[in-house]
Amino acid sequence: MAAPAMERTDVTNGSARPAATQTVTMAKSLNMGLRSALEEDPKVLVMGEDVGKLGGVFRVTDGLQKDFGEHRVLDTPLAESGIIGTAVGLAIRGYRPVCEIQFDGFIFPGYDQIVSQLAKLHFRSQGKVKMPVVVRVPFGGGIGAVEHHSESPESLFAHIGGLKVVSCSNPVDAYWMLRQAIECDDPVLFFEPKRRYYEKAELDTEAQPPPLFGSRVVRRGTAATIATYGPTVPTCLAAANAAAEEGTELEVIDLRSLSPLDLGPVFESVRRTGRLVLASEAPPESSITSEITARVQQECFYSLEAPVLRVTGFDVPYPPTKLEKHFLPDLDRVLDAVDRSLAF
């Protein structure tokens, strides 16, 4: 797969501001993405718990039910298997449901329908039945929430053949990636970094977005490569900025697509820098960062000057949130790993 467009390496700093450009939070850009999709295709539905009148607990679906009605924006009964299972049926009927799972930790009652039906029906029917379903999941920690509200379960979907998995890291990507995910004829698990919902950027709704399933170099550098996704992209960019002040230029890659992985840009980068650090909030064991490591060590065997290092959450249940500052990869832990990599 070709490397995606790399023009906009800093998405928050558009210089000329075209007419279609506005400053928006990620929550707002997602809302705009849903709104455009609902406007353009009458088959698009939004469904989930509290997505209607309340507009979702994060207000991502704010105002949509009011404007599109209760048959386009559905406040469903409280059961995630039901949400996914009926979305599958609606897709068979020709609809394009966009399901909201209220929090990461509540996707598991719907896991069976995702794995057994959503992921497999296209293959099972040899393409006769399409599954254009998007499952939006606010994920990750850092918001001081109670248990089950801060998890990073994306690897559990990347492991499942038949699913596609993406994660946005900024409001601009959020808008385009959601629109592209809704247009995609495959089931897409769409992971939204909830602690970034209220960060802002300039969104040009008439721009040409890069392909959905591509990674992107968001900062050029030479000393080492950092690859990451979702909530830790800003963290890693901040780490790279801090390193730059001390004269170390780090390359940062926003993976964006977690399955399929678009590792071409990572391989290319690692061949130049010889060093790779991966950052993710998820527990490391049998995860997406394990997978990237496995593929990089194979493809870049002779280029690596240090082992691939990972900065991640831990292989434990998410801790009480007074402790999450130690659980989540932060600027210091990322730079510590870079140091260790450079020391090899």
Partner: protein, 414 residues
């Protein structure tokens, strides 16, 4: 490895260090107790006072205050023909498995009336979501029985087109299809296809065991909350593999419906007329916006759960004998003879047709080609994934290597 087995693994042939030839241990003496047999018989031989029946086991036509149906002799003969043909290819499926042509077969023996009644009540615009035993419904939806073979031979996961046939693919994970059907029925409603005589409806099939699954409950919740045109057709065949109905419920299953605010009806599942009448009524209710409806078809699985199951381990033959007296085909045959002048010519004709079907079914099975290795990777996605494409290319390249150098096919380190 050929798909000769489902629950009984074959002994693997691809490894030199393997000298195992024995199958699973022989059936033990773990037979049901007397109490269990009596309880089982009581539970299964009678449907209770609420059972809707239009044709007695003796072939006598009876009336019902709420459900009735007016059928011509020709229509009755068609129903008979359906049941005989379906039973015939079902038996052939069993035989093909025994002969090693299928990995497994899931018999419907005894459930022909339930399925043909429900299947013939469906109209072209309706949609059916089967479990894995609904060969009779498949038949009514116009599938050629040979289209069912791939799943059981291991050449595909279902070859027919769910949309053009109005018959979804078989669903094996118990209960999943109930929610998928609820969603489809919601779609029919959102499409404005509900509300008058031309309305559409969806019928979902599941077993007595499936009623315990959360998904079936959630389908009832969704169906009722969205007033979906959904008929939940539960074939209570008294057993979920080895577990009798009492492992799933204390009370008749049709009674669940009231707790969700829609009607539940227990119908004699061995009476094709009653099954047809109740199904038609339920579908009409749904078409007009009065869904959902739960139908419990009270019937019996006369054969094993699948060809790999051994029912002698958990039920006594008395039970089967009791149910044989209620055979769904036999009662219609008697009725046709007594009341509708069906003569031997008619029965011979159906017999001949079923022989032909069985022969064609059989021949088709023998002639089924092996799927190509590339099929492993085909249509995983609508928009191909580079990762899967790379894996495909790697495997096909690797297999090509064997084709070119057959000597290497036994492996070895160079």
């Amino acid at each position: 490895m050929s798909p000769e087995h489902w629950t009984r693994p074959a002994h693997p042939a691809d490894e030199p260090d393997n000298g195992v030839t024995s199958g699973p241990p022989a059936a033990t003496a773990a037979k049901p107790t007397r109490e269990q047999v009596i309880a089982g018989l009581r539970a299964t031989s009678e449907g209770g006072a609420d059972l809707v029946q239009l044709l007695t086991p003796e072939g006598e036509r009876v009336t019902h205050p709420d459900f009735d149906i007016d059928l011509t002799a020709a229509q009755l003969r068609d129903l008979y023909r359906d049941m005989v043909l379906v039973r015939r290819f079902d038996r052939e499926g069993n035989a093909l498995q025994r002969q090693g042509q299928l990995g497994i077969w899931v018999p419907l023996l005894g459930q022909e009336a339930a399925q043909i009644g429900a299947g013939r009540a469906l109209r072209a615009g309706d949609m059916a979501f089967p479990s894995y035993r609904e060969h009779g419904v498949a038949w009514c939806r116009g599938l050629d029985p040979t289209e069912l073979l791939g799943i059981f031979r291991g050449t595909d996961h279902g070859s027919w087109d769910p949309l053009s046939t109005g018959f979804h693919l078989y669903t094996i994970v118990i209960g999943n299809q109930a929610l998928n059907a609820a969603g489809y029925a919601m779609g029919q409603k959102f499409d404005g296809k509900v509300g008058d005589d031309d309305g559409e409806a969806t019928m979902v099939f599941f077993g007595d065991g499936a009623t315990s699954q959360g998904d079936v409950h959630e389908a009832m919740v969704w169906g009722s909350v969205y007033d979906a045109p959904l008929v939940l057709f539960c074939q209570n065949n008294q057993w979920a593999i080895s577990e009798p109905l009492e492992r799933q419920t204390r009370v008749p299953l049709y009674q669940r419906a009231a707790g969700y605010g829609f009607p539940g009806i227990r119908v004699d599942g061995n009476d094709v007329l009653a099954s047809l009448a109740v199904s038609k009524w339920a579908l009409e209710e749904c078409r007009h916006g009065n869904g959902p409806v739960l139908i419990e078809a009270f019937t019996y699985r006369m054969d094993a759960h699948t060809t790999t199951d051994d029912p002698t381990r958990y039920r006594l033959s008395d039970e089967l004998e009791a149910w044989k007296l209620k055979d769904p085909i036999e009662r219609l045959r008697v009725h046709l003879v007594r009341e509708h002048d069906a003569d031997q010519a008619f029965f011979d004709e159906v017999q001949a047709e079923s022989d032909e079907l069985a022969a064609r079914f059989r021949e088709f099975c023998f002639a089924m080609p092996e799927p190509d290795p590339s099929r492993i990777f085909s249509e995983v996605y609508a928009e191909p994934s580079p990762a899967v494409t790379a894996q495909r290319d790697e495997l096909l390249g690797y297999l090509d290597g064997f084709a070119e150098q057959p000597a290497a096919a036994q492996g070895g380190v160079h």
